[in-house]
Amino acid sequence: MNKDDLFREMKKAIVDGDGPAAGRLAGEAVRSGLDLLEVIDKGYVPGIHEVGELWEKGDYFLPELISSAEAMKSAMAVIEPELERARLHARTGGKVVIGTVEGDIHDIGKNLVAAMLQAGGFEVFDLGADVKLERFIEKAESVGADFICLSALLTTTMINQKRFVALLKEKNLRDRFKVLVGGAPASHRWAEEVGADGYAENAVAAVKLAKRLSPGRS
C-alpha cells in the first residue's frame, strides 16, 4: 500500500471506530519505517477531526465518539513505544489534569472529554470523580499541567467550579493554569461568571477549545 492509501485507511479506521484496523495499520507503518509523527498527523488525526465534524452535524453520538477514541488508543498503543525507542515524542497540545469536582460522582461526560482530548493529542491525567479541589492543584503542579478541566453534572456541585477558581487565586496560581469548565449545567455565561478561561458544550468542542488556548499554539 502506498503512503497516501495507508493514510486514507488510517483515517477511515478512526472514523469507523475500528480499533483492530487502526492497530494493524499502525503496525504496517512501523514495519515500513515511515515517519511516525507524520503518520499520526496525516493518518490518524484527520480521522479524529472528521469524527468531530460528524458529531457537530448531529450524525455521530456518544457511542461513535467512544469507539473512535478507542480506535485512536489502539493506534497509539502501537506507535508510542516505537517513538520512545527513537527518543521522539508525539506533538502534544499540552498537559491536561481533568476530573469531576468533589461532591459529584458523575463521570460519563468527563470520561468522554478525557478520551477525546487524548485522541486529539493532549497528555491527559484523569483524576476520576468526586475529586477534592486541592487535589487538582497538587496534580497540576506536579505534572506541570497547562490545563485544569473541571466537570460537574449537578447544579449543587457546579459551585465548586467557582470555588476552584477562587482557590487558585488565593494560592496565587491563577495565571499558571488555564481552567476549563464543563458539564450539563455549565455554560459560556457560567464560565465567565466563575472566572474560568473557557467552557465547552461537549467533548468535541472541548478539544477545539483546548487547541485554541494551547500554549504550543502561535
Binding site: F61, P63, D104, I105, L154, T155, T157, P185
Partner: protein, 297 residues
C-alpha cells in the same frame, strides 16, 4: 370504594406530577455529595415534608425519593446492601403523606454506567438490578413506576423489562433528549420515533420526555412524541439553564412565569401528564396547577 387508576384519571384530564426533589432535600440540609436515598432512613420527616409540599401545591402524583436507588448507583455510596430497604422506605414515605385521592410514582433513574460495548454491564445485569428496585418500590406501595431521565434507549428498555418482570404495576418511561442540528436525540443517538415505538412495543404504559430541555423546547418535542404514539404522554421540563444568582447561589434561567407560560401549549401539544424537573419547586407546581385549572374550567 376503588380509587380510579392514575391512567384512567389521565383519560379525563391533564394530570399534574411534581417537580425537583433533590434540590428540595438540599434546602433542608442534605450535604453536597451525600446520597439522597439515605435520607429515606436517616431523615424521613424531611422527605415526607417535600412530598407534602408538592401535594399541597396541587400534584396529583409525586415521585419517590429513589431516583438513584438502583443497586449500581447506591454502590457508589457504599449502600448497595441497603437497596431493598431504601426503596421500600422511599415508597412508604410518599404513601404515608399521600391524600386518599392522590398517587405515588416509584422513581427509577439511570445507573450512571454503560452497557457493553461502551461500558462493562450486560443487559441481563441491568434488567436484574432494575427488577430488584421495582420490586422494592412495589412492596412499599407505589401506584406506578416511572423510569426517568434515560439517555440510552437500551438501558430504558432494560428498566422497563425489569420493572415488568417484578410485578404488574404500570410502567411510565421518560427519555432525555438533546436538541442537535438534525432534531431531538438522546445522548446515545436514539431518535424520538425509535424511542417511542420501542418503548410502546415493550409494554410502557405511558411515554415522554424529561430534563435538559426547557418548557418552550418541550412544546416542540411533545408534538413529535404525540405523532408517534397513542399512549399517554409525559412532559417534565427543566427551568432552563443554571446561572449564578446575585447571592452567589445557583439559579435557573427560566423564571417561574416564563416556565409556566408554555404549560397550555404542552397540553395542547398532547401532554397528558405534566410536571417539573431541575430548577422547579412547589411554587412552579402550584402555578402549573392554576394554569391547568384555567384551561379546563
Amino acid at each position: 370504594m376503588n380509587k380510579m387508576s392514575l391512567l384512567d384519571l389521565a383519560k379525563g384530564r391533564t394530570v399534574l406530577l411534581d417537580g425537583a426533589l433533590g434540590t428540595e432535600l438540599m434546602a433542608r440540609g442534605l450535604p453536597l455529595g451525600a446520597c439522597p436515598e439515605s435520607w429515606n432512613a436517616d431523615r424521613p420527616e424531611a422527605v415526607r415534608e417535600v412530598h407534602r409540599d408538592y401535594f399541597a401545591a396541587g400534584s396529583d402524583a409525586v415521585s419517590t425519593n429513589s431516583f438513584g436507588g438502583s443497586r449500581i448507583k447506591l454502590a457508589g455510596h457504599g449502600l448497595a446492601a441497603r437497596t431493598a430497604e431504601l426503596n421500600v422506605a422511599a415508597a412508604r414515605l410518599a404513601r404515608e403523606v399521600a391524600p386518599a385521592d392522590r398517587y405515588v410514582a416509584g422513581s427509577i433513574g439511570p445507573t450512571g454506567k454503560f452497557l457493553k460495548p461502551q461500558g462493562e454491564f450486560t443487559e441481563d445485569e441491568f434488567e436484574s438490578v432494575f427488577a430488584e428496585q421495582s420490586a422494592a418500590l412495589a412492596e412499599g406501595g407505589v401506584d406506578v413506576l416511572i423510569v426517568e431521565t434515560q439517555y440510552d434507549l437500551h438501558e430504558a428498555l432494560c428498566a422497563l423489562r425489569g420493572a415488568r418482570r417484578a410485578g404488574s404495576l404500570p410502567v411510565f418511561v421518560t427519555m432525555t433528549f438533546n436538541a442537535v442540528p438534525r432534531g431531538y436525540f438522546t445522548l446515545m443517538g436514539d431518535t424520538v420515533t425509535r424511542c417511542v415505538s420501542e418503548l410502546e412495543k415493550a409494554g410502557a404504559a405511558a411515554v415522554g420526555a424529561n430534563c435538559t430541555l426547557n418548557s418552550q423546547q418541550m412544546v416542540d418535542l411533545v408534538a413529535s412524541i404525540r405523532r408517534e404514539t397513542v399512549l399517554p404522554v409525559i412532559v417534565q421540563a427543566n427551568a432552563g439553564k443554571p446561572v449564578l444568582g446575585a447571592d452567589g447561589r445557583v439559579a435557573y434561567s427560566q423564571t417561574l412565569e416564563d416556565y409556566v407560560r408554555f404549560v397550555p401549549d404542552l397540553v395542547r401539544g398532547g401532554a397528558n401528564f405534566v410536571g417539573g424537573c431541575c430548577g422547579t419547586n412547589p411554587a412552579f407546581i402550584k402555578a402549573m396547577a392554576a394554569s391547568i385549572a384555567r384551561r379546563t374550567s
